[in-house]
Symmetry: C2
Subunit: 492 residues, 2 copies
């Protein structure tokens, strides 16, 4: 396979597409807008799933599974939600194919097998789930319900990008039901914290926690909280959202409960999700011109051992030593691969594992065996050092931890350098075009101004940071009074 | 919630439906034929997934993900496969909804958003996967490809049963590509062994390994291997299949590779799958009139501790001791729940955990605290014994192992008692109606006879057992010569 490399600095978008393909993460499929997630990409996604799933269970959530299809009459029940997703729905209208009399060997949709009611392929599952919760909830004793679902969803997108925006994607969606507004709000914020913790400590991507403006809110939510990351090209990426849904779905689906005081009340709701989009965030936060750079906490292979030899007798010695090292590190719960393929040169292997982002490479040759040393190379800094074999057992865990925190720190420094406070419209446009990144600016709080800024610059309000300090100021665009700064950026 | 119980002996089918509902495993959804898998049912499925996934990875397979949709032109490429599934395909024809001008607040399919080519919701993924493999395989060096996918699939069924037959179900599907016929056949058989091992050692369900007749083969396969279990009502259940697909899909999708000798050859294929149907097998193998009976290897809760007390000072003592026991058993990697809910009686809790199939219940009251004892109850045999607290730590692991093997042995005894060799057609019909179970009978090897037997008795050939000894005989139906016995049964 010939590998075409593109430099990040030359064409970030082409660099991204190439990397996803060359590192064997994913590829386009025969179905417009849908991707194939290849084994290496899927292995990373599985690690993300395991880390998230553990956090969901530790906070008291259980997994369940609800149908792929949503009958149209349920889909349209919560009007704002329906309106928000209607334009991107794949719709099942028939349940049978038959042989096509006009084309031997071909099939056609059987017109006699038309569904009475069309089925929407779920773009999100609030409707089908809240229709189910109605039967599960009678009294305050049935609350809270804390459920998560791992599933595929479909949103018909015209312009797609591997992992970032695809017609079908994989995600998890939490759907919880509560007796009180306070409890639902607390859940919304708790899950935002879970996402932020995961992003920073597993993906090594620093995030800003904030709340969306009304324009950017999830369709059907009263409030949308989000974590926003900053990619290497200075564009923002929404990495996860946690919605306070108020009583909107409870009202649309008539989900009431009897309180301790024997009164009927509508139930309060939240939903929250992250998706395979996180693969895009991961790639665009750490990777370089040589390929993927993986934080050790997510790497399917954390350390690769590449044996180097020419003659057969060298091979025996080197491989024996390499196996011993592998054994030693495996016992430390490190994921180690020994690449003893005979038909590839060490140089080819070095390039391959760089491309695939393996955090640490250990090379060992005949002279190393003699000297009791190995060469240890870090993927993140590309530093190499000769290390005594005796030290490996004790130093590798620490090295992986160091790499994890170095990646986070590097991304944090970059992100922090790219948050710019501006006080004039000229400055706003200048920073947006030349420096890029987040712009912290006063905004008059109106949807009209937000919309005009978006039209003129393509920048959107990514969020109102939760850590915001209120300060009086004037809107960078309209000059009207403002009480706080918000974060603008161009975004994926 | 009022729980209606039905006895197994009175109405097996109603007993099953009630149990699935009452034990909180699954329920019907608003979408015809689709189920909601509830948290407790899903937790059991997750344990199945983990056990299977580990076995797949240990045998060298990797997970990946392919699109939900199959364009019609790809779907119809392998004709037998297409013909086999055409009648049960959900078809996406449109990609947008719009507001319905005739019905304010309602939506309608947007006729302008008709797809150029219809998309079939995957009933199985051979077509989309082999279309992808064409690009992945050039040379013998690219082989084998050993991939598995965890996914939802849709087969439009008219008569559905929770877990056993639903329009949408969850499954795994392995799809492998090989250079030689021998290697593909070895893979097919290896995965059959993996399934049998899982069924017997995890589900505690004994299975017969066999090969399907041509009539019962997977559409598009050259040979279908299967594991067949026997349910308590004497009906068989196909629990997993492993298909040798020959070069059928390689030819349909033009997937060739260059051999070491530099020749072009078509690639050899296998596929294999098990689904949420296994939940049905699990339930119908072990459960009783009190509810679910779970083998410890699959139980989300292996041991439940129920504290018994009246006065507050008793509560303090009992709960303290219960916590200590929980702590002790958790340290042994046993999944233990302490149910300290105050608003339920111990009797209510006993019934609930019986219904949910928790393998072991430990009850502890004030007198137990005094005596240093507890009451241990087994779910499988309903035996109770008083045990000294000191012994718990050492005896509980062993007890769980005992329960696991007792369930298997009980199911095996039942199964073996229900394999009946018959030599005449009268005997065949008599055993089928009165004794039920598997019937081992000579068959003339023709599809016609097989079909006639099915029409007359509803019994099908479940498989030709791999362990079969060849023996000359005469067909139980046609009287024609036969070389071996095959297994007939009525089946789910």
């Amino acid at each position: 396979m010939e590998i075409k490399k593109v430099k990040r600095s030359e064409d970030y978008s082409a660099w991204y597409n190439n990397l996803v393909k060359n590192a064997d993460l994913a590829e386009h499929s025969a179905v417009k807008g849908c991707m194939v997630i290849k084994p290496y990409g899927y292995a990373i996604w599985e690690k993300m799933q395991a880390e998230l799933d553990r956090r969901f269970k530790e906070t008291g959530h259980q997994n369940a599974y609800f149908p792929l299809f949503v009958p149209k009459s349920l889909f349209e029940a919560e009007e704002k939600n329906a309106e928000g997703f209607a334009k991107e729905c794949a719709v099942v209208t028939h349940y049978r194919l038959k042989t096509d009399p006009a084309n031997p060997g071909k099939l056609m949709v059987d017109p006699e097998a038309k569904l009475e009611e069309e089925l929407v392929v779920r773009p999100t599952s609030e409707a089908i789930i809240w229709n189910t919760y109605r039967d599960w909830i009678q009294s305050y004793r049935d609350l809270p319900i804390l459920i998560n679902q791992w599933a595929n969803v479909v949103r018909w997108e015209m312009r797609t990008r591997l992992f970032l925006r695809t017609a079908e994607f994989l995600w998890q969606e939490g759907h919880t039901a509560h007796a009180t507004k306070e409890e639902a709000l607390a859940e919304t914020k708790q899950m935002l914290e879970v996402y932020a913790d995961f992003a920073e400590n597993v993906l090594a991507v620093p995030v800003i926690k904030g709340v969306k403006t009304e324009n950017e809110r999830f369709a059907g939510a009263d409030e949308t909280y989000c974590i926003e990351g900053l990619m290497q090209d200075g564009k923002a990426l929404q990495m996860g959202t946690s919605h306070f849904l108020g009583q909107n779905f409870a009202k649309a689906f008539e989900v009431k409960y009897v309180t301790k005081e024997n009164k009927q009340e509508y139930v309060w709701a939240t939903s929250w999700g992250v998706s395979t989009r996180l693969m895009g965030a991961l790639i665009m936060s750490h990777s370089d011109d040589e390929g993927l750079v993986l934080p050790p906490n997510l790497a399917p292979i954390q350390i690769v051992i590449v044996p180097i030899y020419r003659k057969d007798e060298e091979k025996v010695l080197v491989i024996e030593k390499a196996r011993a090292i592998q054994h030693l590190l495996k016992a430390k719960n490190i994921s180690v691969k020994l690449d003893d393929r005979d038909n590839m040169t060490p140089g080819f292997k070095f390039a391959e594992y760089e491309l695939k982002g393996v955090p640490v490479r250990i090379a060992i040759g005949p002279r190393d065996v003699q000297n009791g040393t190995v060469e240890v190379a870090r993927r993140d800094t590309k530093e190499k050092q000769v290390m005594s074999m005796i030290d490996l057992e004790h130093k590798m865990e620490h090295l992986l931890t160091q790499i994890q925190s170095n990646l986070y720190q590097r991304a944090l420094d970059f992100r922090d350098e790219h948050i710019t406070a501006v006080n004039s419209w000229e400055e706003f446009k200048n920073v947006l075009e030349n420096k890029t990144g987040f712009i912290s600016a006063h905004w008059d709080g109106t949807g009209e101004t937000e919309q005009k800024i978006k039209e003129e610059t393509k920048a959107t309000i990514r969020c109102i940071p939760l850590s915001n300090v209120h300060e009086a100021g004037t809107c960078v665009y309209s000059g009207k009074p403002s009480t706080q700064r918000v974060l603008f950026a161009k975004a994926y």
